[in-house]
Symmetry: C3
Subunit: 129 residues, 3 copies
């Protein structure tokens, strides 16, 4: 499972880094807390972090459950795809909101694949008793 | 624990579905990213997803910890109640924000019950040494 | 691991309590759902809950993974520091947004320490094979 620990830690560090980018954008574009609107580019960074939060809460449990049913190395590869997808999402969204689609898909599809593995694995285990 | 895996996956799929509803509401009511305000009905869908995110981060760990102390089938029933509560929350909130209370309660109370089981279980284990 | 269960439950209860404070602030300052802006003090409570959500999704997995590599009692102490940091964050932020820094640092640094333990532990395990 060590490789699953490693992917989990990388996903959490990536997400915290996105949070640091929001802090920096807050200073750079003069958006005073508690406001989270007021400058379009700040809002893009903020939405990148929020969307990553929205996915991370599913990614981590789905990743660990999937590694109960399929060899961890394959599961870790799906995790790697998610990590790359998030980098593309950040770069696309900050350039222009309309360019966030590819990165979103590349990070969302691995999560769906993990959940499908979890679902099939659990149903198969129930059927076998 | 298979039944706990199943409830977890259903809760994650339900939450992702709520995210899809937000995407559709974004297109339907013409709210351009990165904005998350601008149309009352869009905001309701957005708040349903956000509130479900807020609960999911507690629901999943509380569910798994509780299944260490009480038979998983009982814990899964509490999980089922949460899932039904979230459906009522969605339907109520979209109809009118004031009608979100019942669904909220029905999904919040199972979480409190799970946390109580976790707390009593952990304290009892500490006392026994 | 009982002490890790206990810290996890306390962190989840603290976070839910911050959510209750948001509900109360909503009523007290007349901010109608689905709006999450409109009164500065309401927004501070809301941001405290959101920021705690943002950290909790990393805190819980980082805490459990770290307890695989280091004695749970030491890990629980880092968890306790996080809990205290969050209380200071709430008190500081509600008083004035500029006074949220100390509490933020005191809850963010334990999370970084936990992730570092996770990372070093996982890499060391991989190297040993």
């Amino acid at each position: 499972m060590t490789v699953i620990v490693l992917v989990s830690v990388l996903a959490m560090l990536q997400y915290l880094l996105f949070g640091v980018l929001v802090s920096r954008a807050r200073t750079r574009f003069g958006v005073q807390a508690p406001a989270v609107t007021g400058h379009e580019v700040f809002e893009r960074y903020f939405r990148v972090q929020m969307n990553t939060l929205e996915l991370l809460v599913v990614f981590l449990p789905a990743l660990w459950l999937a590694s109960l049913f399929v060899a961890p190395l394959w599961i870790a590869l799906l995790g790697l795809l998610y990590l790359i997808g998030r980098v593309l999402y950040l770069r696309g969204y900050v350039a222009a909101p309309s360019r966030r689609e590819l990165g979103f898909g590349l990070s969302f599809l691995p999560i769906l694949a993990l959940l499908l593995i979890d679902l099939v694995g659990a149903v198969a285990a129930l059927v076998r008793g």
